[in-house]
Symmetry: D2
Subunit: 179 residues, 4 copies
């Protein structure tokens, strides 16, 4: 079973929240969704799913965090553009902007090893990274995985046994643009 | 918190399985979906959801049971018709046919107090009825509720805090036909 | 350009209408949709499309006719079952039941050479069969094709240049069951 | 019947095409779709519909033109952002950027009297504005309307008898932001 402390994120700016660190969310399950505002699969599928998670679970138990990991079209996906996007799409969970790295790929995206957008990471109450994966997950499995992590005390059961669905459809990958 | 032993079902016939009783499923979480094969909301939404649950969770933990609760058009929704329907829609979880009652409403449907189709009941490992409701439930909440019941040992947390969605859209109710 | 008089249909029974012949619809564009009530692709896609056509075009110009061409599960898709189905799915255009042939395939289905369900035939004001095809057609192309036939006077332009979409997905074919 | 020459558009920039004037499209049916790249209903519904029209009809008969009519979030929906958006969403029809007016509303949008996005205008072969409306139109009616205009010679039949659907859902209006 995967047993690796999740790295801290490095962000340039926050929307819908004061700046947050992963460290201060310790004790809660963290659902971290990496996206780009011009990634079609993020807009149609994964961002609405993150909003649903935000509205379904108790925020004292589960923190939903969006991470704007821009690795292409940097001039288009600016902070001003993201603010307008979040307003028009009525996304209300906290969203951090991944800090620029040396090249196209931003810092946290590189650190977590995300292969494109959307990507999802589940981090448990103790701060361990339990799942991180490129593509979409079905709500039913994800609801069960989150609940499993909410109820964990001492012993940890595996999560994320399900396969992502839709990987390769409307995602944007580091090595191939958007499909 | 609701704490009521679920009634046993009374069935006339089974598909995709040998005859099953609720009693013999004790120890497993039971997801019981009441439907009619000519209820549009059942066909488009709740039966595919039951199939997803059947494919997502370990059958040793969760038993998905369909219950064909015909309360109208009895001459149309016969066992022969149901067999063809299940074949064409590729539904593979166990499905019992609710036994005829005195009038239009079949026995188990009346016993559980289902108001129409689709209806959903969640029964815990100990045989207690934890939720029963008319309408659809979102996958995310349902996935979490099922997982919560899988992990229960001594103490029981409430389930089904979420509201059904889509009640009133394409359902068939006892007092008003299909909407 | 295809130039073949459409064969008359032979029906056992009608719903939503008195019995109709193709001959008496001469002068109107006829949209003939062959379906089975337990064909998933018919239920989800082609029957709603026929209903939309029925509601969009002037009935003095366009006659939408459903043809229940049962070639499998005959014991399930009876007239009683069809009546209940039409009621629950709120289909209001005229629907004829294709008359039994010698074997599984009904008479009109064989005569038109339909390969499965759903199939669509477009018959022009002069009674010529202008298109007949297995699978679904997109609304945009179909709307244009129907309008083209409405406006025809002397000279006939080709219709149906578009390819069916979705053939092979949820259709039921004579030689392979439902996909 | 409406009989009004369509106004010329005034644009600042073009994508997917050299600069085009309405005048030079005389002789073709023009489908003009006003949108904003951050208008949810445009992204999910009307832009895919414009792309379908572009792919369904002969370009010698029908010219599909997108018009980026930004009336809010000007700093977000820049030309650079639009270029990235068109690339990611694979929109390939000609798109002009409406020229800035004195205030928030751009020049052509004001001239046509569009109330928000998405809006649709149909302009006939002779240059007359036959329909202009806020909201979405169903494909079936729109396919028929376009075909009707393709076939017009001397006499003109009315188009656009259908009502827009979905107006009030995910559109962005001048007086109320996005719904």
């Amino acid at each position: 079973m995967r047993r690796e402390l999740a790295a801290e994120w490095t962000t340039a700016e926050w929307f819908n929240s004061k700046p947050l660190t992963l460290a201060e969310l310790r004790g809660r399950v963290v659902v971290l969704g990496a996206f780009q505002m011009l990634c079609p699969g993020c807009v149609s599928t994964s961002l609405p799913q993150l909003q649903r998670i935000h509205e379904t679970f108790d925020p004292a138990e589960v923190a939903v965090i969006g991470l704007h990991t821009v690795f292409e079209h940097h001039g288009a996906m600016t902070a001003v553009a993201l603010a307008a996007f979040l307003h028009e799409y009525r996304l209300t969970f906290p969203i951090g902007v991944d800090a620029p790295g040396g090249g196209d790929v931003p810092l946290t995206m590189a650190r977590f090893g995300f292969r494109g957008t959307p990507s999802l990471a589940l981090i448990d109450r103790a701060g361990y990274l339990r799942l991180h994966q490129f593509g979409h997950f079905p709500d039913l499995q994800l609801g069960a995985d989150i609940q499993k992590m909410i109820q964990e005390t001492g012993t940890l059961a595996p999560v994320g046994s399900g396969q992502p669905v839709g990987a390769g459809k409307s995602e944007c990958s580091l090595d191939g643009g958007c499909s």
